[in-house]
């Protein structure tokens, strides 16, 4: 199509202001939790998932090789550490066996109703935000696998974050280091409550809810279960020595190199606003599926 030069020049001059305006509008709309934008996020993530997965796997492989080399170098030291740990674990095993026996006898006594079963799903991390102000990852399990907003994401070590967005086949996990992450926690030693607020640094900060609360370095931090987002007692991290009056927590999970996460549904979707959640279809019961079958 031929357009006369002046018209074209005028149109070109208008493109920049128009697009700047459009970007501004999108920022406002995106923040307003509009269903359409939420859906769009899900759809784009779903569409990109196959490509991202393809790219993510060799990366994980390369990281594996680096890990192996590091392991070989560190094998002697690790062996020593494992010996010590093994001794400690044997002690714990004894304790566990004793408690199991005690538990059994108490159960027989009380006719306790067992906890509602939780569903656990393993998902692969296929993208991470990579931005200076964003701490989240995209995983390859979504609404069709039964993932819903508010569920907890964990690794073997501890809590990673919670599900913030759900597509059909992907979901976004808001890491506990993100600026928008606020997780009710409890200090194991004292039982005091606090909020674990992400501030985009690797170590989220503790905001105490009780006036005299304090931590000492090495305190274990667990989820408190208040707010109803997570069940109480999930391991979160270890408190560090306070600097300038700010206490920070070193998460147990290594958040900068997540490869697989477990998404756990405890049937609690508490603190998240539900109005913007797309009506999630119940997971298809016929085909229970682990999201990532190791290819």
């Amino acid at each position: 199509m031929r357009i006369s030069a002046p018209v074209r020049a005028a149109a070109q001059r208008l493109t920049l202001p128009t697009l700047v305006f459009a970007a501004g509008m999108l920022t406002v709309l995106g923040k307003a939790d509009i269903l359409l934008i939420d859906r769009l996020r899900g759809v784009v993530a779903d569409a990109a998932a196959p490509v991202l997965q393809l790219l993510a796997e060799p990366m994980a492989g390369a990281a594996g090789i680096v890990d192996k080399v590091t392991d070989i170098v560190a094998v002697y030291r690790q062996n020593e550490l494992l010996r010590v740990e093994n001794r400690r674990l044997l002690q714990w095993q004894e304790v566990a066996l004793r408690l199991a026996a005690e538990n059994k006898s108490l159960r027989d006594l009380e006719k306790l109703v067992p906890d509602k079963a939780v569903s656990i799903l393993a998902a692969r991390v296929i993208a991470d935000s990579g931005g200076a102000y964003l701490r989240n990852v995209l995983v390859n399990a979504g609404a069709r696998d039964g993932v819903a907003r508010g569920q907890a994401a964990l690794t073997g070590e501890g809590l990673v974050g919670r599900i913030a967005e759900v597509g059909q086949r992907t979901a976004r996990v808001l890491l506990l280091t993100d600026l928008n992450s606020h997780i009710p926690v409890t200090i194991e030693r004292t039982g005091q409550r606090a909020l674990l607020d992400g501030d985009n640094s690797d170590r989220p900060r503790l905001v105490f809810l009780e006036p005299k609360a304090a931590v000492v370095a090495g305190d274990r931090i667990l989820t408190s279960g208040s707010g109803g987002a997570f069940p109480p007692g999930l391991p979160v991290g270890v408190a560090l020595a306070a600097t300038n009056g700010v206490s920070r927590v070193e998460p147990y999970a290594e958040l900068s190199r997540l490869e697989m996460v477990r998404i756990v549904d405890y049937g609690m979707t508490g603190v998240l606003p539900q109005n913007a959640v797309p009506p999630s279809r119940p997971p298809r019961p016929a085909k229970p599926r682990v999201a990532d079958v190791q290819q």
């Binding site: 991390v125 102000y133 190199r257």
Partner: protein, 174 residues
Amino acid sequence: MARVMMPRDTRLGDRLVPFLSTLCFVLVSVVPLQIPGFAAVTPSFALMAVFHWTSYRPDLLPLTAVFVLGLLLDLLNGSPYLGVAALTLILARTAVLNGRRYFANGTFAVLWLGFLAIAAGAFAFDWALVSLLYGTVLGTRPFVFEAALTVACYPVGSYVLVRLHRAFVRTSTA
């Protein structure tokens, strides 16, 4: 064959490679690289691609294309503020367009210096905008670190882009 048959301006490589390579760079910037500490700050590969194509062939990566790719980046990185990357990239493109006389005709060092200036501006803008949106002054460290990493990685990105450029696209504007 295609070279001979098709009119110069509509060659497929010319029209597709700048867009597709920038798309790839956008995707790569969200792929998790499992290096400790690296996930927090991944170099902005998208900025490299926009800088390269705008410096050499702005006609092949128009403003609208940059906007769309920026929006895709916004959607993929899970930003609560949609449009931030799109806005940063279209403004960066506009800035590059004004400076391309100096960038594109000098040595690689000049080009790199130009990229440094653009990246510094882009990340400073990003920091200011996101701080404004969050309503709090964000720490500058991650932004400075990401900008430095982006500038440091530019030769690698540039190498890939130049190879693609030479293979599929005419080097200069007709």
